[in-house]
Amino acid sequence: MIDWAHFTPWTSLAGGILIGCAAALLFLSSGRIAGISGIAGGLLTPRRADIAWRIAFLLGLLLAPVAFRLFGRLPFPRIDAGFGTLLTAGLLVGLGTSYGSGCTSGHGVCGLSRLSPRSLVATMAFMAAGMVTVFLVRHAWAP
């Protein structure tokens, strides 16, 4: 059943269009793919000389809440996960996106936009794994 109370098709579509425009700007101006895990991970392996654009992109991402606050009240995120879950989840996301060469942005947005079969497989794999995980935690294993 659909959670109509939280369903926000128009703002989500608008946000998605902004994300698409951002990925388009990066690609058309420099030929780079806006994959957040790849941009961040590339800073950790010093063999790459292309550091400035990565820092600039991540700085923009970190300052986005400041820009958003100029136009409206910042949405307050609901984070149910405790400290241990956050650490486990972060570690899995760091490892998984490194081995899988991408995350929701690199595979899910940019990869699907360029019709990459690799990205389609990756996106189906992480969507399915995320859905199974939420099902187990929220329903199957819930007290």
Binding site: L61, A67, A81, L86, Y99, R114, A122
Partner: protein, 131 residues
Amino acid sequence: MGALSAFVSGLVFGVGLLVSGMSDPGKVIGFLDVAGAWDPSLAFVMAGAILVGFFAFARARKLPHRREIDARLVGGSIVFGIGWGLAGFCPGPALVDVGAGIDKATVFVLAMVAGMLLYAGLERWSERQPA
């Protein structure tokens, strides 16, 4: 010039994540919870982003790119999906929430960086092993 456009891209990307609702782990888990009260909003985020990306990446479709679909790609993506489902955070939204001063996002990002460093270490270790 390259750094400036990358900065603007990151800024617009982050604002898009905030506008879309992706920066809220509760909403992300609502999308992944297909068996519960399902919030399909994030499908609209993907649709909006791909709608623009489809035209922007027209040139990219002609470039050669990696085609191999192997255990690293699938296994890594599954591990990422498990982590995504556990906390509702993927890398972009987590970084935006760090910028918003959310402590829990900082904990997640530090662990994520540790995971990336662990990967880099494991790769260097396996390169040194005799084949």
